[in-house]
């Protein structure tokens, strides 16, 4: 397992069995300033995930043991403190494959070979969505407080 800490507030969990591809993804994202942890398969990823929450998961599709689709389904079944932006990496690019991935709960997919610029652009898209979710949650908490402090009969 590789790990790089930084001040970015959306840590990324990489799941890729191929050591070269795993290192490439790790280096690209770590160099871009992201807080990244890289794991080798779905089982290792779940183990890491139990100890630490990752709002972004970038997972290969085909892996021995637990593959990316199974990992995605397992993650979606969990009760979590926030949304997870799940990106599948795949050499599969037929429409049927892409639909299967999205149906399993993936938010986005990247076809391999992965382009550096496309990877970082998709991660930024994920962060935009996660920031939106975060601001909605804090607004909702604010609203709950507003109504709790002002019972309806006193407002009328």
């Amino acid at each position: 397992m590789m790990e790089k800490k930084s001040s970015m507030s959306f840590p990324i969990l990489i799941v890729e069995d191929n050591p070269v591809s795993r290192n490439i993804l790790y280096k690209i994202l770590a160099n871009a300033g992201y807080d990244v942890v890289a794991t080798e398969n779905g089982h290792e990823a779940l183990k890491v995930f139990r100890d630490r929450f990752f709002p972004i998961i970038l997972s290969d599709w085909l892996m021995p043991g637990m593959d990316g689709i199974e990992l995605c389904r397992a993650i979606r079944k969990m009760q979590l403190p926030g949304y997870i932006f799940f990106v599948l990496l795949t050499a599969k690019d037929s429409k049927a494959d892409i639909i299967e991935g999205l149906k399993a709960g993936a938010d986005d997919y990247l076809t391999k070979p992965v382009l550096h610029a496309e990877l970082t652009a998709r991660i930024r898209t994920g962060i935009r969505i996660l920031e939106l979710e975060k601001s909605l949650q804090s607004r909702r908490r604010g609203n709950q407080g507003f109504f709790r402090d002002r019972p309806l009969d006193r407002m009328l």
């Binding site: 591809s21 290192n23 690209i28 050499a91 391999k112 992965v114 550096h116």
Partner: protein, 105 residues
Amino acid sequence: MDFQRLADDLGLNLEEFKELLELFVDTSTADLDKALSAVDAKDAETVARAIHSIKGASGNLGFMEIYEAARKLEADARANRWEEILMPIHRLKDQIRDISAMLHP
């Protein structure tokens, strides 16, 4: 082969890229040996899996010639086209050896 350009494409410095290349040479050599043994055993699935690994790594590194050869080889293995397999595996071995030689001139 322009390592600097390939490194730039990935947003890495040359040293980082060369570290990845060392890993690529080691893992691909092992994968090709695995594939060759599997050809002897007529084990198409193992050939395809070993070549699939080279395909993914070479594509991500930007070695598109190796990627294309591996892509075809994986498909040929999955289709049990044994007569198409042996020569390309040896050709890939030569290409990996060339990369290794460039890393250690």
